[in-house]
């Protein structure tokens, strides 16, 4: 209980600064060497991969499905489009995009974490979605695709785990085709103070216990709550997208700002 205000204060002061200096970065509330972040985040996701979908449903009361539906609706996807679902995890967005782009289109499910990618691949194959999906293990900062390849790039609940977010945004920009768009679905800052407090209490007191109980890994879910607070708020992320070269950047708050969908174009 008593930890909530401390976390909240911390998050407010740090929201606009995701990287501390050239060689260090954040891992939740900890300051670590940049080189260590990838392996530490990988550790978290290797640990939770198998229970990831169940935990998502439990933690968000199923609302994450609606947030993802909203992202699909905002994407303007058409048959024949090439879509990159970055940090695609267990492939919720990929599944929908795969159906909507049709046989002439292509969806690439990319994730830095092999465990998540394996769970995603198994899940999509079980659903019979095999024809137009490729799987790539890739770091968002160094995307292994040619320039101007994709019509749409999405990154849902993944950007906050990336070590150098600016570099990742520039990398995404380069693989987008002119006219293409990036959609970032990510936890953000609630609009109302009361909701913010309730959300803090839930994140720091209930979420880790839920993680301990279901996924037998409370620490990973403590990291999840901390990483959400350390992620840039709505306006900061919009500015970061502008700086990376995106045009007409905008965002929409969902569920009172608990989550925001940012959208930007490459022209």
């Amino acid at each position: 209980m008593s930890s909530s205000p401390k976390h909240s204060q911390h998050s407010t002061s740090q929201n606009t600064a995701t990287e501390t200096n050239e060689s260090t970065t954040h891992f939740g509330y900890k300051t670590i060497e940049k080189d260590d972040k990838i392996s530490m985040v990988a550790g978290v996701f290797h640990s939770v991969a198998k229970q990831y979908d169940v935990m998502n449903d439990l933690m968000s009361f199923g609302i994450h499905r609606l947030w993802k539906r909203f992202t699909i609706d905002a994407s303007g996807v058409r048959p024949g489009n090439k879509v990159l679902d970055l940090a695609g995890g267990t492939g919720d967005l990929t599944a929908k995009f795969s159906q909507l782009v049709g046989r002439n289109g292509k969806v690439v499910l990319a994730d830095i974490n092999s465990s998540m990618l394996n769970v995603g691949r198994d899940k999509l194959r079980d659903k019979g979605l095999v024809q137009n999906i490729d799987y790539v293990q890739a770091n968002a900062e160094y995307l292994p695709f040619e320039e101007n390849t994709f019509d749409i790039v999405t990154i849902a609940f993944g950007l906050r785990n990336v070590t150098d977010k600016d570099k990742a945004l520039r990398s995404i920009y380069s693989v987008l085709k002119p006219g293409g768009r990036l959609l970032v679905l990510e936890f953000s800052k609630p609009e109302h103070e009361l909701l913010n407090k309730a959300y803090d209490f839930y994140s720091f007191n209930i979420l880790p216990k839920m993680g301990e109980l279901v996924a037998k890994d409370g620490e990973s879910y403590q990291y999840l709550a901390e990483s959400i607070r350390m992620h840039p708020d709505q306006e900061t992320l919009k500015n970061m997208m502008d700086n990376a070269g995106f045009e007409q950047s905008s965002y929409k708050n969902l569920t009172g700002g608990v989550v925001a969908l940012h959208k930007g174009y490459k022209f």
Binding site: R65, P79, L254, T255
Partner: protein, 226 residues
Amino acid sequence: MACKKLATNLLLPQVLHAALETIINRAFALNIRQLSLVHLEQKTLTLELSELDSPMSFTVVENKMLVNAVIDRSDCIIRTSLQTLKKLKAEQQLTTLIKQGELDVVGDIKIAQQFSALAEQLEIDWQSELAKQIGDVPTHKLLHFGNKITKKVNHTLKQLENDVGEYVVHEKRLVVTDSQVSSFNQSVNQVSSQVEKLSTRLNQLATKFSVSSDTRTDSAPNSNFK
């Protein structure tokens, strides 16, 4: 504007789309005959209903229906209201509705007709489906009870209809109108005020009479003294 923001915040269109998608695909799965959706594969019909802020796009993908709000890919867009949507079953009304401005169709109208035909082909054997879930005997009893209730409700409705008809045809003529009631009330008020005036006048006369008779009785002995 505030309503729209609230609906976006609460993701109400997405809730509606998810519910519709589940219901439609469940209905397809329960249909007596296997529906062939091959002719509609990757075709999209979009409905823009005036009552809703968000469009609804129905796309057929591998014998399933996806419902979302992506309109960029639509083969046919229908802009109308829920009320007019019911009238679309009668094809001959299409031109009239378009002329009246109640309906706007963009794209291939045949796609809309094919989607409509799909809905008409749906035929679900609810009895068998229910029996699979709860067993034959409970299903029979439940349906028997349901039929009884339906008959009773229908009977009550018919009786109500007859009573209302009788009231309209016969009894309504005998019922006084509002203007008659108000005229009657006015007359009652007039009579009441006249009665009040008369009563005041009678009281005055009674007072006068008693005063004059008192004067007369007082003056009689005086004259004797004189």
